[in-house]
Amino acid sequence: MSGFIVFFARFLPELLRGAGLTILLTAEGLAAGFILGLLSALARVYGDKFWRGLAVGYIELFRGTPLLVQLFLIYYGLPGLGITLSRGLSAFLALGLNSGAYQAEYLRGSIIAIGDGQMMAGRSIGMSRWKTIWYVILPQALRLAIPAWSNEPVSLLKSTAVVFLIAVPELMAKAKSIAAETYDPIGTYLAVAIVYLAVVYLLDAFLRRVERLSRIPGFETEGKKA
């Protein structure tokens, strides 16, 4: 136990820097993934054959292959086609594209759950399709999606750990360099595991707060009236 305290005292600044980058990567990937996911979900529900096909293709590709392979394909593979991206950008793209494919499914599910009754009601007062989607469907669908979607930020946070393999200096990368310094891999990685747990716990608490704040009185996610 005292060993742990000494360890943290010595390496805390470095670990915090790594954790900070991990959180940043998570936030960026989540945001990019949300936009991509939302566009894909809308394309699948409301788009014509072309857009639907495009969305399905994207989703199948990024859910059907490992994140690590996607990462390497972007960072090491694209230069073969003349496109060379920095590590940061490659990591961001891989995480964003990957997350977007998963978020698309959550969002699609809740858009469909809101149902075409709401679409009909919106159009019955003269709103166009897109107005109804923006002012009626999405506000409800996004709220409905929150419980299921809350898995995604935590999942993404955990996936960011693999980007150390292209030398992005996030938490896992710090772990590796510290382990080399201390010659105690098991202890180091265990300590880092605890740091991850702490971050995940905080993230989870934050998400539960958001869920509580966004509740609409009378409109629970379990069942709707009428």
């Binding site: 059907g64 292959t65 593979g77």
Partner: protein, 214 residues
């Protein structure tokens, strides 16, 4: 050159499949045991299983992989990277499988247990003959999802030096100077493997469905 390319990829695919086929069943047995202990094992075991799940699912798989790898390949057990990696993957998966099976056990419900005891079965018999057959069926769809995930996560053993698809792709990229082709092929193979796995498990799910009211 092409023959080399193909044989390299095929070997990598074989390793990937091997890793997955070791990790999944190991995770299933371990996870099932944990799920049963959690649900039927009394307060202490319940808490322990819950803590295990919380820890294993709150930490990134690759971090756990490294910890377990160093333990399993250390002086005590001295397993090869392949075995250390595969078993580690299985241990990580066991936590997720535990949650899936726990959910399935809950879905079957206490009523079934009550009914089974009422006919005179012991707790163990009830679990074995009544609860499990139903729970396992219910678990198939979410379990298929986990199987896909394990297949994809097997790529993480790359970091342990295991010569699976991604490692081979990297070597190929170096020798052929065609990185996009090499990594693209790796992606394609994973895609096909995941696709085939999903199809196979969907088939299994359909075949084991209990007949419902027409």
């Amino acid at each position: 050159m092409l023959v080399n390319f193909v044989s390299y990829i095929v070997q990598g695919t074989a390793i990937t499949l091997a890793v997955t086929l070791i990790a999944l069943p190991f995770g299933l047995v371990f996870g099932l045991t944990l799920a049963l202990l959690h649900t039927y094992g009394g307060k202490v075991l319940n808490r322990l299983a819950a803590l295990y799940s919380l820890f294993m699912r709150g930490v990134p798989p690759i971090v756990l992989l490294f910890i377990l790898y160093f333990i399993l390949s250390g002086r005590l057990l001295n397993l090869s990277a392949f075995w250390a990696g595969s078993l580690s993957l299985g241990i990580v998966s066991s936590a997720y499988q535990m949650e899936i099976l726990r959910g399935a056990l809950l879905a079957v419900g206490g009523g079934q247990m009550t009914a089974a005891r009422a006919v005179g079965m012991s707790r163990l018999q009830s679990i074995r003959y009544i609860i499990l057959p139903q729970a396992l069926r219910i678990a198939i769809p979410p379990w298929s999802n986990e199987a896909s995930i394990v297949l994809k996560d097997s790529s993480l053993v790359y970091a342990l030096g295991v010569p699976e698809i991604l490692r081979r792709a990297q070597q190929l990229s170096a020798t052929t100077q065609q990185p996009f082709l090499a990594y693209g092929t790796a992606a394609l193979i994973y895609f096909l493997l995941v696709f085939a796995t999903n199809r196979a498990l969907d088939y299994l799910s359909a075949r084991t469905q209990l007949p419902t009211h027409p």
